[in-house]
């Protein structure tokens, strides 16, 4: 969602990041039951998710506060670096 907003809709990087974060909430809520109920067993590990959440909600607050304090270009370059690392990882070791 972030690259699409920045490249095609001309949205600024800060707005794109924040929009994506908020828009992902209904998206995740909609997709979750599909993963949970479609197979004979749930494709969701709730225990593991809970542990991730304990750490991630604290981290998300810290990260969101950081977002307001960094210039546009540096923010874009950080996003690019993260997308590249994860993208190459998925391509080479799927």
């Amino acid at each position: 969602m972030i690259p699409l907003q920045v490249l095609w809709a001309g949205v600024g990087q800060h707005n794109a990041n924040a929009n994506s974060l908020v828009a992902i909430i209904p998206i995740a809520i909609a997709a979750l039951p599909v993963y949970y109920f479609s197979h004979q067993w749930p494709e969701v590990d709730l225990h593991f998710a809970l542990l991730l959440i304990v750490g991630s909600v604290v981290g998300a607050y810290v990260g969101a506060r950081l977002l307001g304090r960094i210039p546009e270009r540096e923010l874009t370059l950080i996003v690019v670096a993260v997308l590249l690392v994860v993208g190459v990882k998925e391509l080479v070791f799927p």
């Binding site: 969602m1 972030i2 690259p3 490249l7 949205v11 600024g12 800060h14 990041n17 924040a18 929009n19 994506s20 974060l21 908020v22 828009a23 992902i24 909430i25 209904p26 995740a28 809520i29 909609a30 997709a31 979750l32 599909v34 993963y35 949970y36 479609s38 494709e43 969701v44 590990d45 709730l46 593991f48 998710a49 542990l51 304990v54 750490g55 981290g59 998300a60 607050y61 810290v62 990260g63 969101a64 506060r65 950081l66 977002l67 270009r73 874009t76 370059l77 996003v79 670096a81 993260v82 997308l83 590249l84 994860v86 993208g87 190459v88 990882k89 998925e90 391509l91 080479v92 799927p94």
Partner: protein, 133 residues
């Protein structure tokens, strides 16, 4: 709580920082944590990541709304359209082999990253925050 559990919490913290900071909801970080770090299958990792994303994005999203970073109009369209797309995407993901899914996803990310990097590189370094639309 075991040491393994504590490790998951710490990994979750760093994924959360990344999520709140660059707005990825956490999935881009949660999924590799599970597939690489904890040997989850791709589908189980994606499903579990969705569950963790909801509270993470809520906590990261609220300060952003308060600080005026969120364009609520486009946000609503993306969230609404995305929710419909997500159900179709999730159904597709359950029936497409995991490695193929991961490669397609990886190719998208790399292509977008290269284009965004090129655009950012061309902009003057002094470019600050975009004005509110």
């Amino acid at each position: 709580m075991s040491w393994g559990d504590a490790l998951v919490v710490v990994a979750g913290f760093f994924a959360g920082v990344l999520s709140g900071f660059i707005g990825i909801g956490g999935g881009t970080a949660f999924v590799p944590i599970m597939t690489v770090g904890f040997r989850f299958g791709q589908t189980l990792a994606q499903g579990t990541s969705l569950a963790a994303i909801v509270p993470t994005a809520l906590v990261g999203g609220l300060p952003n709304i308060r600080e005026g970073n969120v364009l609520l109009g486009p946000g609503r369209w993306m969230g609404g359209g995305g929710a419909v797309g997500a159900i179709l995407g999730a159904l597709l993901a359950l029936y497409v082999p995991g490695p193929l899914l991961a490669r397609v996803w990886g190719a998208f990310l790399v292509l977008f990253a290269l284009r965004m990097g090129r655009e950012a590189w061309k902009k003057p370094a002094a470019a600050r925050r975009s004005p509110p639309i």
